[in-house]
Amino acid sequence: MLRLNRQFLFLIVLFSFVIYSFVYSQFSYFGRNKVQYSDFNWHVIKTEHFDIYYYPEFTEIAEIGAKYAEEAYSEFQAKFNHFVAQRIPLIFYNTHLHFQQTNTVPGLLPEGVGGFFEFVKGRVVIPSDGSLSQFRHVIRHELVHVFMTNKIYRIQKDHRLNADALPPLWFVEGLAEFWSTDWDSQAEMVMRDAVINDYVVGLSNIDNIYGSFLMYKEGQKILDYVSEVFDEEKILQLIENFWKSNNFEDVWKITLGKNYEEFDIDWLYALKKEYYPYLTLKDPPSVKGTKITKQGFNFSPNYFEIGNEKWIYFLANRDGYSSIYRMICDTVRAEETAELVLRGEKTDELESFHLFRTNFKISKNGLIAFISKSGSTDVIHIYDIKKKEIIHTLRFDEIISISSPSWSADENLITFSSVDKKGYADIYIYNFTNQNLIRLTNDYYDDHQPVFTPNSKYLVFSSDRGTGDDPGIYNLFEISISNLEIRYITSTPYNSTNPIFASNGKGVIFSNEYDGVKNLWLVEAYESSDGYIYSNQMKRITKFTTSAFDANISDGNTILFGAFEKFSFQIYKFENYGKVVDSLNETIEFKFDQTKPIWMADKIPALGVKERFKYQREYNLDIAQSQIATNPVYGTSGGAILSLSDLLSDDQYHFLIYNNAQSSEDFLKSFNVAVSKFSLGQKTNYAYGIFHFSGRRYDIRDSDEYFFERSYGAYFALAYPLSFFRRIEAGISLSNSSKEVFGVLKNRKALLLTNYISYVFDNSLWASSGPVDGSRLLFLLAQTNDIKFSNVNYFSIMADYRYYYRLGLKSAIASRFQLFYNHGREARRYFMGGNWDLHGWPRWSIRGEKLWLTSFELRFPLIDVVSLKFPFMNINLYEFRGAIYTDFGSAWDTKYISTLGSVGFGFRINLFGALVLRYDIGKRIENNLKEFQEGLFYQFFFGWDF
């Protein structure tokens, strides 16, 4: 007789999912760790419309952010013609490293996420990165989301329509960018490249680039076009007409009078008119420069000679991990000589190289100074090229994130930019001789990318500390190391970044956005007795359509640089730049106006603050889900789950309740209740709870299988992360169990005490259907005892190791070695069978108190994309993958029975990032691996690759 619990399996699954979603890796099988390194002493500022959560170390930046938020609110209120009736929680972090520790979302936050607005509690979570202009941009971007979402919600609600509907992602993100910031060089770079290289997509095919950065920028550009051609008010009308159709294209047509296809004709033509003329005056990087790298994303080229060999060292992601590579500086041989120098993102020491945020430099004697995240902060590693090892690591107490290290000529000093606990991005020098750290600037201006002058007495750096006319515009400055005096080098209303000195020391080469994208320019300089004298003009070096940045000198007159072309970041070289400068003969004069004061950031005025206080936890509902089921056999039953958490989701409560009584007499004793608390706000995460479960059960892990059980008790579990990749878990539970087995006269009572401890390691890299690189390990020891009746007494060992040997970008050989061992009285069984483990065998049919399994699987890509065009919509299915596998294993209680196996091939497809479908064909290997089954097996199911 099957237990009614089957009807509530989904509730339990949902409960488990809820817990998993809130707990992510800490209490699940593998997974990495969101480590709470910092104890955030949260405080709150209440302004007119916002509750701003911050910690006192960066109060000033938080107050500036509060002002930005209120200004944005006022502007968007009029722009959206809408009032957000609820107070908006804004949660600020002083760096991206701290931001990654937030519990407001359950998963790990990639480095590319600059902030987010989440729908459960309506929270806006934003990191500062040292740049006030970027901080302002992100605040405005997220507030556009808040206003748009809130307005559409109200419109839908007023019309009594589905209040969860939202416009397509390209519109949502395009609007957030369009109304939060001006069109910038990065956007221009991407769009120019897309149009010139013919990969821009129109609205009718925009799903093809779903979720990509190109989609964000195209969305922004589309709305810019609508604003220009139709009027900006049409954008608001699109939102206000949202109720008119479930299909956004209909709304588009009703509002603008054109469907997507008709709109594309005009818009794509307008793009060509705008960007094609660039080719008459400028050239793509590959035309005037020489492309060296050809695959992956490559940045920060550095030239270094070892004997007669000329190498380029660079940062790149070529296989899913950001790492340091090198290749011979030869356009013909470069790619074939590419080799890995240091692998990032796989070890505790080199957790992340911040590919898009920083660069590195090599000293004259071959010491690479580079940045990686290591534990709670960034560190500077010194890698000796000749010794091929890291010889030094620098970590500083007050500094959280670091970028752009650069050497002095004599290698005794290193300069870098850092963001400290106050959120200030400032310049530092570290002296290797006396191990002193010197701070050169100390304010909220964003000072970064410092380099030494050839005489090492000054630093040249990029900063937004300009005059009041252009707050947020970056120019180059020089600072004296001796007296900290700062002076302008450049003065243009276009950003100047990435300075380096020319090899002859007679100029500074840098990127400037004069023509809408970054190109390389030169400011001539010479050294005098009083310091460096800089020219008051800049001379053009490159005239590329898309970009040039991260410049570095290779030998004499050759510049190595990074550029964006055909939607990839590659490294190029540019020879004889001195001659090019002369031939282009294009100069821009600087206009220095020393009369204007430096701009100052306004903080929220005192009158604008309603209240300030220390954060106190207040809980509200996150999820409430109920179910009632009825059937003619078991009658009606119902249950619910509820989850509460505080505003920061550091503390969570989960409640499960359901009743599966089959008669009114059973009602009270058939209540199933579980209450758990999860505490995630500190480094050691822990959970505890109480439960009462009662009812008929069919449990394939139990030797009795069919029984009635009532159990109640409590548990405590903790997870201590040793690093991003490794953790220790432990737990204890005590439950009073009373079991009646069906079919036999067996009543078993027990007071079960279970203890376990485990070690988990995971640095795997995932492709679309499962891991393709790295490894995963779980090792667990446990003991379960009946401390009252001695009816149960067994120990458990679980060892599960998986290793992924990378063959290519998306292919790998995956291996799995599992040993699960329970031994003792009433030991529970493990199970396998099915295409999650032992392919070909009936699902979960192989059971035993001991189990081993070994699998090998070759994973490879099959079809990149399948497009289905229906009259009413298009669907694109990406990454059909294939697998060839073999498995061996067995399960037994006391006596080993037989080794089973399987061999075959299969297909996998990831549906919309949520679900992997798998279909396998093969043969079982039976009778102790002596014979193959007759015929083939066919298995279809869902689930990620192991």
Binding site: N81, A85, D231, S245
Partner: protein
């Protein structure tokens, strides 16, 4: 009707008392547009964006009736001797634009389709109905629904129409303000105000007053469309202007409330309210009643803008208030019509 008369007048020639006491609340179970309730014989009518028309007892706040027309209603309900008239908005397509409902018999008398979606205030003048569709077609129909004339305004129209029996004034989102002959529909004049008109125009004593999305307020000679003066407010204007014998009163999307001299367009006073003003201000002899989207209604001293009273509402105050039987009637989120007794 919206604004009491076809010329759109939000002035009440009385002093508003000091004491306001909550009298009743009524739930419409769906949101409303930025319009107002209309009333006849102690019954209030309001249409919702869900498509229902509610009849509410003015004294008790109880439901007197409800009809379901299934399409959103943006305009105020027009009332004749025995019929109510509702104009419907819709998404992609619909079979009906205007419905006549006999409140005595309790049945739909006729329903007709004319054009696209009607998403602004319609006009009832001497049994004639004047309305625009979102595509800019301007109609005049008789009480039987027969089209008297139809013309194309050349622009999308979402603003409030006004009429003095001789001319119909229409503001378009291309910034145009047009005057059409009431009898024949002929264009009298057309001017460009410089930005989209979402509010509409009011007519008073031979002049037209309008505002637009660039914050401009204009006084125009109704005879030839010439601009008498122009005032620049600080932000976008979406609400129809209100006036008394001397001044104009209005608010912008940044929450600033203005009083300007009707004669010369000079500012008398302006105050910051912190909300959004999306609907017309109700003007009394002594006070102004200002509905705000930040869940407040402000009662201001008309002479200097001083805030005399602040009433907090459960949601955004969307409807332009009306004054009837010593009651102030408001409408707000979530789906509420609220009456305050004035003493």
């Amino acid at each position: 009707m919206y604004g009491q008369t076809p010329q759109r007048n939000f002035y009440i020639d009385e002093n508003l008392g000091d004491s306001l006491k909550l009298k009743w609340e009524y739930s419409t179970s769906a949101g409303t547009a930025f319009t107002s309730v209309t009333a006849k014989d102690s019954v209030i009518f309001i249409g919702t964006l869900r498509g229902k028309v509610h009849a509410i007892d003015l004294i008790t706040g109880k439901r007197r009736g409800e009809i379901d027309l299934k399409e959103p209603i943006y305009s105020s309900i027009q009332i004749t001797r025995k019929e109510i008239i509702a104009a419907l908005a819709h998404g992609k397509s619909s079979s009906t634009d205007i419905v006549w409902y006999d409140v005595i018999d309790g049945s739909i008398v006729r329903e007709k389709k004319f054009c696209g979606s009607i998403e602004n205030e319609i006009l009832l003048y001497n049994d004639n109905l004047i309305f625009t569709c979102d595509d800019g077609a301007l109609f005049k129909i008789d009480k039987y629904g027969t089209v008297i004339w139809k013309i194309n305004t050349g622009t999308n129209v979402f603003s409030v129409l006004s009429c003095n029996g001789e001319q119909i004034i229409v503001g378009g989102i291309d910034g145009s303000l047009s005057s059409f002959d009431f009898v024949f529909g002929k264009l009298n004049w057309k001017i460009n105000t410089g930005a989209a008109i979402y509010s509409g125009a009011i007519i008073e004593n031979g002049f037209v007053y309008t505002n637009n999305h660039h914050g401009n307020v204009l006084k125009i000679n109704i005879n030839d469309g010439s601009i008498i003066w122009k005032y620049n407010a600080d932000s976008k204007l979406r609400a129809l202007l209100s006036y008394d014998s001397e001044n104009l009163y209005f608010g912008d999307l940044n929450g600033t409330i203005y009083s300007i001299d009707k004669l010369n367009g000079k500012i008398i006073w302006k105050i910051s309210s912190g909300g959004i003003i999306n609907n017309s201000i109700l003007v009394f002899k002594n006070k102004l009643v200002v509905p705000l989207l930040n869940k407040l209604v402000l009662i201001l001293d008309k002479n200097n803008g001083k805030v005399l009273q602040k009433i907090e509402f459960p949601g955004r105050v969307k409807l332009s208030p009306i004054y009837l039987n010593k009651q102030l009637i408001f409408g707000c989120d979530d789906d509420l019509i609220i009456s305050y007794q004035v003493n």
